[in-house]
């Protein structure tokens, strides 16, 4: 069975304090790995798709990387508006989500 594990569960950062979120996975036939941002009570907002090991994508203060067994979401110099739950999902036969990392950025 596909498994997606995200760590840490929660992350509290000071504004400007860079950090990384981890997503490790075991899946048969990985077709893609996705990162989403979710605010409370709202739908997941698409951030990145990664397809192969070594791939990197960037958007504003966020950068996602992929290896054969894990992905990292780097948050550089975060701002309070980056506070959200970040979900990792892997696509094999279906899309399987991790439990998410809740990031809180204090001003």
């Amino acid at each position: 069975e596909d498994q997606v594990t995200q760590s840490p569960e929660a992350l509290r950062l000071q504004e400007g304090e860079s950090s990384s979120l981890n997503c490790s996975y075991t899946v048969s036939g990985l077709r893609g790995l996705f990162w989403y941002r979710q605010d409370p009570g709202k739908g997941p907002e698409f951030l990145f798709t990664l397809y192969s090991a070594g791939e990197e994508k960037e958007k504003e203060r966020l950068k996602a990387t992929l290896t054969k067994k894990e992905s990292f979401l780097h948050i550089t110099a975060p701002k309070p508006e980056d506070s959200a739950t970040y979900l990792c999902a892997v696509q094999a036969y279906k899309l399987s989500f991790g439990a998410g990392t809740t990031v809180t950025v204090r001003a």
Partner: protein
């Protein structure tokens, strides 16, 4: 850019009642997915449709059914509602071209409360 539309946004029902949730995918998207998200949990896949045919089935209870219509909108029908059905229900859509993977874009969700 147009996004996935879901209606209603909030729904309150009594136990054993029936509920219908609607989803309108992004224009030109042909695949629709339904997810259930309980409090503090990650989204759980329920069912998906491609070109109006069921394409995959997840942990959808037998009390639930869904379909995709000719205009690609989808409806999730939930009968004999139970307290445990209270959750956020998300619809997502994607464009399935030549069997290549495409990204799922999520709607804002319908919050269902069963009393």
């Amino acid at each position: 850019a147009a996004g996935v539309i879901q209606s209603p946004r909030h729904l309150i029902k009594e136990k054993r009642e029936t509920a219908t949730l609607k989803c309108y995918p992004i224009p030109r998207h042909d695949t629709v997915y339904w997810y259930q998200q309980g409090p503090g949990q990650d989204p759980q896949f329920l069912i998906s449709f491609y070109e109006k045919m069921q394409s995959d089935k997840g942990s959808i209870p037998d009390r639930f059914s869904a379909q995709q219509f000719s205009d690609y909108h989808s409806e999730l029908n939930m009968s004999s509602l139970e307290l445990g059905d209270s959750a956020l229900y998300f619809c997502a859509s994607s464009a399935f071209r030549d069997r290549e993977l495409d990204t799922q874009y999520f709607g804002p969700g319908t919050r269902l409360t069963v009393l």
